[in-house]
């Protein structure tokens, strides 16, 4: 997030798009809902499902899945043609406005209605509401990014936000809500193929030299493979060994049949986890790891806040913390890593990670700190890009709408979108073992609108079969208004009804993120 969670409650307007916040970030949703109910915050929801937030919204734009760029261009078209944009901000802090203006010119509300199904009048209303707010925050999540146009979608959001002068101010910003506890930290720490900690490029010589000196080792200048590319390389035999720490790709990745084939092709698969998973079943070595409750360390939350994790109980059996396992393995490979505690690792982290440089365990004891926090007396940063963007001027990207990789047709007439439900987390290894959440949600459900259900002769609770070009799964139908006609939804928590057997592995060319939010399926009684 460019800004902080607490700001949501006291801003003037929130635009929530591609985020089912009440289920995926329930505590953040309470800031949004308090803002709406108690502080007069206006709420615009742009989402292809009638999620709970719609109940709190001033206006809901229900677009067809994957037509986000068209909708954002449409909003900007209205804002520019009605002269509602922040002219001073655009002039002083941005560049390339003319290209944006030229591109969005053809996305008139009527044209956007044809593409997205959003009524032109509603689009105009929402555009005016957004532009007229003094401070407006955009929150989004995987509903924006898990598309072949994921990068375009995010850039479009940034365009809209800059157009109305909302980046670099309190209560504004472009705010991705991160779905996993430490996805922010894993990125900050260089758990990515092209960057070292704090996003220092592996391809630049300065950065490489710095880390070669810090680690006493020759480093490769060639950016590595992304997850989806690793899987493909495993399938082709180019990658022969894969070491997985705490992930379960055999349930979370798209087109699972394919993933299984690829993993089976490896010479060595090492999986380090807290539970047996679909992926450990294929492993050559399974290493038992400690859970978050059994170790010291830090997580970085979605608003860049680094917070302490503390040991509460002992790990079961011979399970060890992940850092102890990596250290032991490293020593076996002739590179001893001598750390007595997580704190000692953190002390090394801050030396090579400029945005974390001012943090210590002592400073984090009472309250977390938000990066950038470059020095020991720096209070941390509540919101980014004040006065200046990282690159200087904010760059507008002129972006054309591209339809999703798969669109419903005669054979596969319905949209399928996927995601999480409130009671479960990701591949369910933890929550399906928790009594309470499992009581509320014991199995996967196919969420379908009453009109579609009637057309297909399907009743609530009936077993249905869902088929895409890649596979089929069976699960019970849940008839609900949350799904709009023509679009069904299924969660990916349960191995017994793994929706990722159906999903499309088509990738965003830049972000390499698969289009998990849109594919075409057919539905029939099982």
């Amino acid at each position: 997030m460019t800004n902080s969670i607490e700001e949501l409650e006291y801003t003037d307007l929130i635009l929530a798009t591609g985020t089912n916040t009440t289920e995926n970030h329930p505590v953040i949703s309470s800031f949004v809902k308090r803002g709406v109910r108690q502080q007069g915050v206006k709420l615009i929801v742009i989402d292809p499902r009638e999620i709970d937030l719609v109940k709190y919204a001033d206006i809901w734009l229900c677009q067809k899945p994957g037509t986000d760029v068209a909708v954002f261009n449409g909003l900007m078209n209205v804002i520019i043609s009605e002269d509602l944009y922040a002219k001073d901000y655009v002039a002083e802090r941005t560049e390339n406005f003319d290209a944006l203006k030229e591109t969005v010119a053809k996305y008139t509300p009527e044209y956007v209605e044809k593409i997205s199904g959003v009524p032109a009048e509603n689009l105009k209303k929402a555009a005016r509401m957004y532009a007229q707010a003094n401070r407006a925050s955009i929150i989004y999540a995987m509903g924006i990014t898990q598309h072949i146009t994921g990068t375009d979608n995010v850039k479009s959001i940034a365009n809209l936000s800059m157009l109305c002068g909302n980046i670099g101010i309190e209560g504004g910003g472009v705010n991705p809500l991160r779905g996993q506890n430490n996805v922010q930290g894993a990125c900050d720490m260089g758990g990515l193929p092209n960057v070292y900690p704090a996003y220092q490029q592996v391809a630049t010589e300065d950065a490489r030299k710095k880390f070669e000196a810090a680690w006493g080792s020759k480093l490769s200048a060639k950016p590595g493979l992304t997850l989806m590319e690793m899987m493909a390389a495993a399938g082709k035999g180019d990658v022969k060994a894969l070491y997985i720490m705490g992930e379960n790709p055999l349930l979370s990745d798209p087109d699972l049949k394919h993933v299984e084939k690829e993993l089976r092709n490896l010479d060595l698969l090492v999986v380090q986890d807290i539970f047996p998973t679909e992926t450990t079943q294929l492993a050559d070595v399974v290493l038992p790891a400690a859970s978050f409750a059994e170790k010291e360390g830090t997580f970085t939350n979605t608003e860049r806040r680094v917070q302490r994790v503390r040991k509460i109980v002992d790990a079961p059996g011979e399970a060890k913390t992940d850092w102890e396992i990596i250290s032991a393995l490293s020593a076996k490979m002739g590179y001893p890593m001598q750390y007595a505690s997580a704190k000692e690792i953190f002390d090394e982290v801050i030396k090579v990670t400029p945005s974390y440089a001012g943090m210590t365990y002592e400073r984090l004891e009472k309250e977390g700190l938000q990066w950038p926090c470059p020095t020991s007396d720096h209070p941390g940063t509540k919101f980014l890009h004040k006065d200046r963007f990282s690159r200087g001027l904010g760059l507008f990207h002129a972006i054309e709408y591209i339809p999703p990789a798969e669109w419903p047709d005669k054979e596969y007439p319905l949209f399928l979108s996927t995601g999480r439900v409130l009671y479960h987390y990701h591949t369910g290894t933890m929550t399906t073992r928790a009594e309470g959440p499992s009581e509320r949600c014991p199995e996967s459900l196919v969420e379908i609108n009453p009109l579609d259900a009637e057309k297909l002769g399907i009743s609530d609770g009936q077993m249905v079969k869902l088929t895409s070009r890649r596979g089929s799964v069976q699960a019970k139908a849940q008839i609900t208004q949350k799904s709009v006609p023509g679009t069904i939804f299924m969660n990916f928590h349960f191995a017994e009804a793994a929706v990722n057997l159906l999903t499309n592995p088509a990738l965003d060319p830049v972000g390499k993120i698969p289009e998990l939010k849109v594919c075409a399926v057919k539905l029939e009684a099982a």
Binding site: N24, V27, G224, A233, P276, I345
Partner: protein, 357 residues
């Protein structure tokens, strides 16, 4: 800009309040104790329980200090005979109208009604104890409700509507039949309740309690450790309570402030059974050939096998024939070490994690 200061006297002490502050807020700021029950910070002051009554000179009757704004020259007394007598009456009425049996109550030792009884030195209520006789709501695995212990303070209603804004709970019925709950007198499990448990966290008595923590440990037997929730990216600060190495329950804590201000969701509060679940992996497992079953081995054997195999693959296929997935689930320290291992030890940048999934 300095806010206007309002001078007043509380218990003979000259104090200054901010304009718009209540007597209670001003007293607390100045270290003067006024007992409360229904009051809950950052929710509406409702003055429902009247436990916070004080004397205000020239007022017609005792006033609820949680609702009464200060005014210039106000003379307030918090500890007079009339105040204590009223407080005792209120507490005795609450006590006698419920089933407040501390012997078996989970809140024993952490109960705000019990604290009031003790502080006001009440031996027993002067009224006959007549609990309403509601059935205990015991039909879900997370939250138990015993409305016979409810003091109708309305904190749960405000927590649900004003803190979490889930808008499930409210009062129903009137007079002595008044009760709190979801619409149409439904049980939680049959309502639109999402089991965030905020109601449970704010309940001052034993009316709303942790089902799984029942008989698992009394408040003073539990140790408490603060940590960061492992579920989503909000990073909620939480207290984990344990007894003899076993996790008993999880609670939010408002004192920790950002980012969650004491709130949690159903996964954070009730989704932690997995930590001590019998399915946990406890020993390293290894198969030396693809067609074998996984067998338990020592750490030394497992790590030696991996190290030899990786070295051999690196030798024949180069470092880039090895790849690793770090984890959005592990700590910063572990992710740092993992990418360092891949880059400095293996010699490849083939490291990623499931940020995109």
């Amino acid at each position: 800009m300095e806010k206007k200061r309002v001078p007043l006297t509380i218990d003979g002490k000259d104090v200054e309040a901010k304009a718009g502050q209540t007597i209670l807020e001003c007293a607390r700021e100045n270290g003067i104790f006024i007992p409360t029950l229904c009051h809950y910070e950052k929710t509406t002051n409702v003055g429902a329980c009247r436990v916070c009554v004080v004397e205000v000179e020239n007022a017609r009757s005792l006033v609820a200090s949680c609702c009464m704004p200060v005014s210039p020259g106000m003379i307030v007394r918090t500890n007079t005979e009339a105040v204590r007598s009223a407080q005792k009456m209120i507490v005795e009425l609450l006590w006698s109208s419920g089933d407040h049996n501390c012997l078996t109550c989970e809140q024993n030792g952490a109960c705000e009604l019990q604290n009031l009884v003790y502080w006001l030195k009440i031996d027993k209520p002067r009224f006959e104890i007549e609990p309403p006789g509601y059935a205990i709501e015991d039909n879900n695995t997370m939250i138990q409700r015993d409305l016979n212990k409810c003091v109708l303070c309305g904190r749960c209603v405000r927590a649900c509507n004003e803190i979490q804004v889930n808008e499930v709970l409210d009062f129903s019925m009137r007079g002595s039949r008044a009760k709190v709950g979801p619409a149409f007198d439904a049980d939680y499990i049959n309502s639109s309740c999402v089991f965030c448990g905020e109601c449970l966290q704010v309940c001052p008595v034993g009316a709303i309690t942790f089902k799984q923590a029942k008989f698992a440990g009394r408040p003073w037997e539990l140790s408490k450790t603060r940590t960061t929730c492992t579920y989503c990216g909000v990073g909620c600060q939480m207290d984990v309570f344990t007894k003899d190495g076993k996790i008993i329950k999880i609670s939010g804590n408002r004192d920790y402030g950002k980012p969650n201000e004491g709130s949690l969701c159903v996964k954070g509060r009730f989704g932690m059974d997995f930590i001590q679940h019998p399915d946990r992996l406890k020993k390293p497992l290894l198969r030396r050939n693809k067609n074998e079953e996984l067998k338990e081995v020592s750490w030394d054997e497992a790590t030696s096998f991996i190290a030899e195999k990786l070295a051999a693959i690196k030798k024949t296929g180069g470092a880039d024939s090895i790849a690793g997935l770090a984890s959005a689930r592990c700590t910063n320290e572990e992710n740092y070490l993992f990418q360092k291992f891949m880059r400095a030890v293996i010699g490849t940048n083939n490291v990623d994690h499931c940020a995109r999934l």
